[in-house]
Amino acid sequence: MGAIEEFQNVLANRHQYAKDWKERTGGKAIGGLCTYVPNEIIYAAGMLPVRILGSHEVQDITDRYLFPTVCPFCRDTLAQGLKGRYDFLDGIVMGRTCMHIQGTYDNWRNYIPTPFKKYIWMPGHVWSSSAKSCLAGEYKDFVKDLEEFFGIKITNEALDEAIDLYNTQRQLQREVYEYRKQEEPPITGAEAMEMVIAGQLMDVKEHIKFLKQLLEELPDRQLDREVGIRLMMVGSEMTDVEFVRKVEELNCTFVIDEHCSGSRVFWDDVVPQDDRVAAIADRYIDRWPCPAIGGAPGVRFKRILEFAKQWDVQGVLLYQQKWCDPHEFDIPPLTQMFKEHDIPTLTLEFDVTVPFGQFRTRIEAFIEMAELEVL
């Protein structure tokens, strides 16, 4: 079976995968909300870090918990918990970012039975000189809590191994992204997404194994399809693979992304230092930030533009999870930035489910703008 199929299997049976993993290893599974949860530490504790994601199904179960103006991603994730789909979790960890996801965590800790709960007070002012020591303090508390609650010990050796594994995973995923620069990328946007999302659900060792396999397959992987227009995907959370697959049927290919379930998750490495936890904390402070980390967008915008150029994109899909104010703030200036560089943008507003029929016209028209063939 090809590596991509392996990833697709994990996605299709994500909950079963985690249950089997626990069965197999006798280890615990810890769910994470948001990308500021240090998987390195959880893995060093001998546990499986699982990113909690939505399922993109129509639901109303959250309506008595969250005001409907909480972003769809946060409602969708909470719905999964309320439906008992994450009942295999031994704990849940939240990395403080925006109010919406805090609402998800707040209701989760109150209404979904979960043995271990941890709220990591992620500093929101990452440019302050004391941010790193603060987050290191948070992560050390986290280590302590894990050790006390589960009666384990997180050793430096384990931390070193975890740091090394996650750096490798990041390195290999960046190598895969390199292939997407090619004129005819050997991997579609949907497939790349499946790879990255799977990496947030499965055992990092296993993920690395398949990443290596994929890197062997890519050089002579042939896709029987038109590349069409080269697109970039920019926004908050994006795990709706089906949507991306449908879009890529409209004569276009996503060749790069910047969002919190894509490149933003894995791009930056941990730089080893004696204090392992501090080293991990530094990584999460130095990584390029989520827009909810207020102030100065410079960092993020700069990298988005670099990506667009390096991957030679002809258009950018800016998608907005309805009500997600941190990203709403960035969309007008981002649109402006791309305009100045003659890169057309299309903004779509997402809800828990996507009315593809409605979006189709916009996406096709957007692609037609770039297709000279039509005129």
Partner: protein, 295 residues
């Protein structure tokens, strides 16, 4: 539960029509192409002989696209000796474009409206407002009618043809009279606070009960609609020249108010018919594609 319970006449319905160009003989033409626009509310078919309009039709969309496409085309050909098989290339557009069996290619109404407006209004047109059955589109294009930027209304049919139909039905006013009636008011009433079809409806009922005339209600509704449209246009920015396509372009009550808010007194008129812009554009594309395929 009888009397007045259900209205007998369907006031929202407008009459379907067709037009044939007497000065064009399709048999002499090198290319005969057609564009079919199956919109959410209305469908049009336009046949080009070379680059001249030979005939067109404007019909109501049924609940299934293939039939609507057939109706539109058959009506367009009704008073001609042109048969469907004589048409060399057909492009489908509009809401139902993917379900138009006779079309060789589907192109979005956004590209088609720009191209159609460019055909009818000339290369100077830069900004197009398309007010259709459920969609509002602000479109920027270049002198060849190629789209450079566009914006659509989000998740709401407020300020669209459907909304206007609901009003016409509620007030029991023939849809074609709505625009003129809305202008026959002593003074402009404050706009209704909601353009959402459902709420505007209940608001309108309230206004009528409080003694407003139908004209005043229509004026208030057209004004609110115009205001919403202008809001959309401001987000995309307006360049000279400006024109309006789509069904509502025929509602002077809305268009005149839009132009007033925008401070535009000389919009480019679209001859012969602003409502066929989409189908016409599709037909022009069909011709391009046909010529291209011959090379």
């Amino acid at each position: 539960m009888k009397k007045g319970s259900k209205m007998t006449t369907e006031y929202y319905r407008w009459t379907e029509y067709t037009w044939v160009n007497p000065d064009v003989d399709w048999r002499k033409a090198d290319t005969v192409t057609c564009g079919i626009d199956v919109g959410s509310v209305s469908s049009q078919a336009v046949v080009l002989a070379n680059s001249d309009i030979f005939c067109y039709s404007n019909t109501r969309t049924g609940s299934n696209s293939p039939d609507s496409a057939h109706n539109a085309l058959n009506l367009a050909l009704k008073d001609t000796d042109l048969k469907q098989e004589d048409i060399q290339f057909i492009v489908g557009t509009g809401y139902g474009r993917v379900n138009i069996p006779m079309a060789k290619k589907a192109i979005t109404e956004i590209a088609c409206h720009a191209r159609g407006a460019n055909y009818m209004g000339g290369p100077s047109i830069k900004t197009i407002l398309d007010m259709g059955g459920q969609d509002l589109k602000g479109i920027h294009c270049d002198e060849r009618g190629k789209v450079t930027q566009f914006l659509m209304n989000d998740k709401c049919a407020a300020g669209t043809g459907r909304g206007m139909e609901v009003m016409a039905e509620l007030l029991q006013v023939p849809i074609v009279d709505v625009g003129q009636m809305s202008l026959d008011v002593a003074e402009e009433p404050p706009p209704v606070s909601s353009t959402c079809v459902i709420f505007a409806k209940s608001e309108a009922i309230g206004l009528l009960r409080s003694g407003w005339t139908k004209n005043m209600v229509l004026a208030a509704y057209c004004a609110a609609m115009a205001h919403r449209v202008v809001g959309l246009l401001e987000r995309i920015g307006i360049e000279k020249d400006f024109t309006i396509t789509g069904g509502i372009s025929k509602n002077i009550g809305v268009t005149s108010r839009i132009l007033k808010e925008l401070g535009i007194d000389d919009p480019v008129p679209l001859k012969p018919d602003a409502q066929i812009a989409g189908a016409l554009g599709a037909s022009v594309f069909a011709r391009d594609l046909l010529l291209k395929s011959r090379k």
